[in-house]
């Protein structure tokens, strides 16, 4: 019920931006920048995130004429941001196999441990662990577990198969478990 109403309001806002109504584009920025910055930070790292957020909004300003209100403006901006991040990571890492390097070669840690190894997980420790994942696995993990995309959508975005997306996600989770468990041991099991 809210969807079409929201998209209508978004379209009206996009039209106000195109008509150069003062403050309209700033309204778009203020409403969506925090979510986009969160995902960009997690995908490419904090250092490059500011440049990519800036690039996302400059690109949005150029392309607002293409927005027809079929989806929420937030979703449209999100696609723009993630595509920029994917291009950025691809240009840095090259092929998919290089983007997931370091994850495929390692044995799965799941079967070798007995019982749960994680206590209470600190969110900041998790943020740090996510940053330590190889770029490809990080993309799948953030898009699926943090942003709620389905494997089919991720597969389309990253030009991989559904199966690859599922296996990368599982390996990413195992790696995070491993890193968080190691951190727990190193910090004396405080968390």
């Amino acid at each position: 019920m809210n969807g079409p109403v929201l998209a209508h309001a978004d379209l009206a806002l996009a039209e106000r931006c195109q008509a150069n109504i003062p403050g309209a584009f700033e309204e778009v920025y203020r409403a969506h920048a925090p979510r986009l910055f969160g995902v960009i930070c997690r995908l490419v790292g904090r250092i490059e995130a500011e440049d990519l957020l800036q690039e996302t909004f400059l690109s949005a300003h150029r392309k607002l004429g293409l927005y027809k209100g079929e989806s929420a403006l937030g979703t449209w901006l999100f696609r723009l941001a993630t595509n920029l991040c994917i291009d950025h990571l691809r240009s840095r890492s090259g092929r998919w196999s290089q983007m997931t390097q370091g994850l495929d070669d390692e044995p799965d840690s799941g079967g070798t441990n007995s019982g749960p190894v994680l206590g209470v997980i600190d969110r900041l420790d998790l943020e740090r662990a996510v940053a330590g994942l190889p770029p490809g696995a990080r993309l799948v993990f953030v898009l699926h577990d943090v942003e709620g995309f389905e494997h089919k959508e991720i597969a389309e975005m990253l030009e991989i198969s559904d199966g690859t997306s599922k296996s990368q996600l599982h390996r990413a989770r195992l790696r995070l478990r491993e890193m968080l468990a190691a951190h727990r041991v190193n910090s004396g099991g405080r968390s």
Partner: protein, 134 residues
């Protein structure tokens, strides 16, 4: 007999609700009797709960200023920022304008003074007079 090696990759699919009823039953039967797989499943579920709390991050303010500046450069007619939303920037703009006017007036008067040297001479004469008295 299902082994841990077979079940372990399916634990992620289990917590995401992506297994068929038959597969789920097979995995759950194994997990209920396997301490290691039960531990892994508990950890994956815990990880998922905390992951859901990873929310938005506020970007630094200068990012918007840079975006607005870039748009102004490429589209000079586009007023991207609201006129009332940035009082601090308005004060900075006003201060900059004031400095420009002051500098302008200073240089204008200086130019005028150079063009009329007699005025300068007259103004300095009392000082010379004082020096002579000393």
């Amino acid at each position: 007999m299902v082994s841990c090696r077979d079940v372990e990759p399916q634990l992620s699919l289990l917590i995401d609700g992506l297994l068929s009823a038959d597969e789920e039953s097979r995995v759950r039967t194994h997990v209920s009797g396997c301490h290691s797989c039960r531990g892994l499943l508990a950890d994956l579920e815990r990880l998922r709960v905390v992951t859901r709390q990873m929310g938005p991050i506020a970007p630094p303010e200068h990012v918007w200023l840079e975006v607005a500046g870039q748009i102004r450069l490429t589209h000079p007619s586009a007023p991207v920022a609201s006129s009332s939303g940035r009082p601090a920037l308005q004060w900075i703009g006003l201060a900059a304008a004031l400095v420009l006017v002051t500098v302008g007036v200073y240089f204008f008067q200086r130019t005028k003074a150079i063009e009329a040297p007699g005025v300068v001479t007259t103004a300095r004469q009392p000082v010379r007079g004082l020096a002579a008295e000393d």
